[in-house]
């Protein structure tokens, strides 16, 4: 390791929010050419700390040094001036603009009064070659994949001259293939002399790529260790404060009648292209059906069709023997369908509602929350109090806006709400995205508990590990169709990977 002056040094940073100390006297050193991972539970204060480094928040106490000089970072512009760049979890790109336009936005090279677009595009190409970040400089953001968009964000920071890059959960939204590519990009960046702070919940990634790990729990630094001298279980224990098992225990399923039966569903999008093209499967009581597939093969559309947000053109969707296709969402919910949506900010929460308001989002119109047309504040608050305790949602209070909860705790709040409805069918889309290992374990246990109570669970996930560990049966989706079904104990990553890429279903396995 480098013993010279650290490129960034945080000294005793403290940041308080109403009701909570998000960062409690945190010190941290980032050295040149290093990848420094930040690990911590949901709500531990990682994003807050990085937002301080990037000038979005001001610390209440403590100081920051960059290259040995004390600095005050009072705005992102100041951070950029100091060579600090941040790749946020939610990208900040202008959709109808091209890659180049987004990258130069605010720092356009000028030729007279005009933007020198040509030299800008050249510069983008140069940067992308130098760091192995393949992008098409002329493509529009709305037409490129999430992984590509992230590269644009990275080039944007490099274009602004960043030497220190902060990545806040960069892999949460990526496919396994894109994650592997990002890892290569990060290695390339440090070999070119950049330094990186990486926030991630995935221990595998930390072990694979980081040099140093700092573990934070409830706003405090627990330890800083060299990656080569630690193990995943050691890290998990330090972070959660207890032993974490990575393998979820489950007993053999007791399978009952069919709960959800989807047959030959066809749904077309606005342009008349089939996004679901004759899709069929069923989920039975007491089992977890995992749907594996590469992003964009109809998963989101399938969920929309089941939950009533998308009309289907052909086929049927039966819930406990009743046709539910093309019914309004509330009618479907009332048949006993719960849903943990993939995009929690867009579909799962009303960010400017309080936690307690969010926890009754689907039940507010029923007693005891609705008393003769009026909201029963007491019942709503009691419900919230009960759920945040039961599901360990860390929030300063139930009156806090959902917006100021950490990402993981927002997810826990949704899960609490959906499971508490005691559904017959639980649809879980990417339920553990952005959760810490402890919380992942908790959520997966909850899914299994639902199944053990005789409920049907439909799990949609891009994480093969999760699909393999949790499901009782796996269906693979490809181009809007189920192309095959396998049992987790009889398959492996390779086979699943092939099926997800569109190869035909295995001969002689037709247990569905």
């Amino acid at each position: 390791m480098n013993a010279a002056t650290p490129v960034v040094e945080l000294k005793q940073i403290t940041k308080r929010f109403p009701g909570i100390v998000a960062n409690d006297s945190i010190s941290l050193q980032l050295h040149k050419g290093e990848i420094h991972a930040l690990l911590g539970e949901n709500g531990a204060g990682k994003s807050t700390l990085m937002n301080i480094v990037f000038g979005l928040y001001q610390p209440d106490e403590g100081s920051i040094e960059v290259n040995g000089k004390p600095v005050v970072i009072d705005s992102p512009n100041k951070a950029i001036e100091l060579g600090i760049g941040m790749v946020h979890q939610h990208f900040k790109l202008v959709e109808p603009f091209t890659v180049t336009e987004n990258i130069i936005l605010g720092m356009e090279p000028k030729k007279g009064f005009n933007i020198d677009y040509k030299s800008a595009a050249e510069q983008v190409t140069k940067l992308s070659e130098q760091y192995g970040l393949q992008v098409n400089p002329h493509a529009k953001i709305q037409d490129i994949s999430v992984g590509m968009q992230q590269r644009v964000e990275i080039i944007k920071t490099l274009y602004r001259g960043a030497d220190i890059l902060i990545f806040d959960e960069p892999t949460a939204v990526l496919t396994p293939q894109e994650i592997a590519e990002l890892m290569d990009i990060m290695k390339r960046l440090v070999s070119e002399g950049k330094s990186i702070i990486l926030i991630t919940h995935k221990l595998k990634e930390i072990m694979q790529i980081s040099d140093t790990v700092t573990i934070i729990r409830r706003g405090k630094v627990i330890d800083t260790v060299k990656t080569s001298e630690t193990t995943p279980s050691d890290l998990a224990e330090k972070m959660v404060g207890r032993n974490v098992t990575f393998k979820v225990d489950k007993k053999a399923p007791t399978i009952g009648e069919t709960v959800l039966k989807v047959s030959d569903v066809v749904s077309k999008n606005k342009d008349g292209i089939s996004v679901l093209s004759g899709l069929s499967f069923e989920v039975r009581a007491g089992e977890i059906l995992g749907i594996a597939g590469v992003d964009g093969n109809g998963q989101s559309e399938l969920i929309e069709a089941i939950t009533g947000l998308r009309k289907i053109d052909k086929g049927s969707i039966m819930m406990l023997g009743k046709e539910i296709s093309n019914l309004p969402p509330r009618k479907i919910t009332e048949q006993g369908v719960s849903h943990i949506p993939e995009d929690r900010h867009k579909h799962g929460l009303i960010l400017d509602f309080t936690v307690s308001e969010n926890l009754v989002l689907e039940t507010y119109y029923k007693p005891p929350y609705n008393k003769g047309g009026f909201l029963n504040a007491e019942a709503i608050n009691n419900n919230a109090q009960k759920l945040i305790e039961q599901f360990d949602v860390r929030t300063p209070s139930i009156e806090t806006k959902a917006r100021s909860l950490s990402g993981g705790n927002q997810q826990k709040a949704i899960i609490a709400r959906e499971i508490d409805k005691n559904p017959e069918l639980l649809i879980a889309a990417q339920p553990t995205r952005g959760l810490d290992v402890g919380a992942i374990e908790f959520v997966q246990k909850q899914l299994i508990a639902q199944r053990d109570q005789g409920k049907a669970v439909l799990l949609i996930s891009f994480e093969l590990d999760e699909i393999m560990n949790v499901s009782d049966r796996i269906a693979v989706i490809y181009e809007g169709k189920i192309v095959g079904e396998v049992l987790p104990e009889e398959t492996n990553d390779q086979e699943l990977g092939l099926m997800m890429a569109g190869s035909k279903k295995r001969v002689g396995d037709d247990r569905g």
């Binding site: 939950t307 947000l309 509330r330 919910t333 009303i350 960010l351 989002l361 047309g373 009026f374």
Partner: protein
């Protein structure tokens, strides 16, 4: 739109208060530049309003439509809708009330007056609901349709007055039947014949209704959910389209009532307008100033009414053209919209407070 939302729903009262002070300050500077005496001007403005009972009563009358149109704009905004059409809704409501007030004769006052008020609210509401319907079912932006409906409402109101209600040879309708009047006679006596009416009381009730409905009822929960995140609201089974229509209806009822009261309580007749009186547009300013909060709207309407009514006093007392008040109002709104400036001015105070907390 997001930017708009941010501007419109700060939950911080410091900015508007500071904006008002800064707006008055800007007005003072303009007066100084124009060679007037700002202190004399502002004091005559306030004397005009608080000087005697008649003027005080008239100022209260002046505030009433501002309260209601402010509520109309603010209410729609809570559901994520920008109701620029309060002006047309007001005129349609006014016309309906006038029509009932003139044509339905022979009713006892306790039926006639409420009926005329209800007609005003109802027609204002329906007029707005058309905009909501087009948005919900056809996805047409409400700003565009409500601007169009303003013109339709304006000419429609004049048409009805011209063809059905006109006193021949004049530019105004007949007077409404006395049974439809909502003047408060015992108060007008006390206030030196100022035109006080029950509408003011109803406007205050509307303020409370706004608050209770939005934050205490099941339906209000839905409206707010749709306003803050229509996607999640739809996912949770809330019928987004129906809520848009309903919200526009309620918003239009507020505006329609404002129009009805102008006739039933103040003028007793309706004019053929050469141009719209513009209360609906003032409502946008009032809602903005009141941060879309019902009590904020009430305070803002009081301020707005004080300034506009007092402007006459300013020209008497200090020879300042009454239009100057428009500059003050414009400046206040500018400072609310461009909050950055206000925060910058307040910066030193904020800084001091923060430090005190840490130490």
């Amino acid at each position: 739109m997001d930017k708009f939302r941010k501007i419109f729903t700060l939950d911080n009262y410091i900015v508007p208060v500071a904006a008002v002070i800064m707006g008055l300050f800007v007005g003072a500077i303009v007066m100084l530049v124009g060679g007037y005496d700002p202190i004399l001007a502002y004091s005559s403005l306030f004397t005009q309003v608080f000087g005697d009972m008649y003027d005080f009563g008239e100022a209260i009358r002046e505030m009433t439509p501002f309260i209601l149109t402010g509520l109309a704009v603010a209410f729609a905004f809570r559901a994520g809708l920008f109701n620029i059409g309060a002006d047309g809704q007001l005129l349609i409501g006014m016309t309906a009330a006038t029509f009932v007030g003139i044509k339905f004769t022979g009713l006892p006052f306790y039926i006639h007056a409420p009926l005329a008020v209800i007609a005003g609210g109802l027609f204002g509401g329906l007029w707005a609901a058309i905009v909501g319907f087009l948005k919900a079912k056809r996805g047409i932006n409400e700003v565009i349709t409500s601007i169009m409906m303003n013109w339709v409402g304006f000419y429609g109101a004049n048409y009805v007055v011209n063809h059905f209600l006109l006193v021949p040879g004049t530019q105004q309708s007949e007077n409404i039947a006395p049974t439809a009047s909502i003047s408060i006679h015992f108060l007008t006596g006390i206030f030196g014949n100022a035109r006080l009416h029950w509408g003011t009381l109803i406007a205050l009730v509307a303020v409370v209704f706004f608050y209770v409905y939005l934050w205490k009822t099941k339906q209000g929960y839905e409206v707010r959910a749709v306003g803050l995140n229509p996607n999640a609201a739809g996912y949770a089974g809330i019928n987004v389209g129906r809520n848009i229509i309903k919200t526009m209806f309620i918003s239009g009822v507020f505006a329609g009532l404002a129009g009805a009261f102008q006739v039933l309580g103040v003028f007793q007749y309706q004019s053929v307008f050469a141009s719209s009186p513009g209360y609906g547009f003032d409502g946008i300013a009032v809602a903005l100033l009141g941060m879309n909060n019902p009590f904020g709207v009430l305070l803002a309407a009081i301020l707005y009414g004080t300034l506009t009514y007092g402007s006459a006093g300013m020209s008497f007392g200090a020879d300042v053209p009454p239009e100057l008040v428009k500059i003050v109002i414009g400046a206040i709104i500018f400072f609310i919209a461009a909050q950055g400036i206000v925060r910058w001015v307040l910066g030193p105070f904020y800084g001091k407070r923060k430090k005190e907390k840490v130490l």
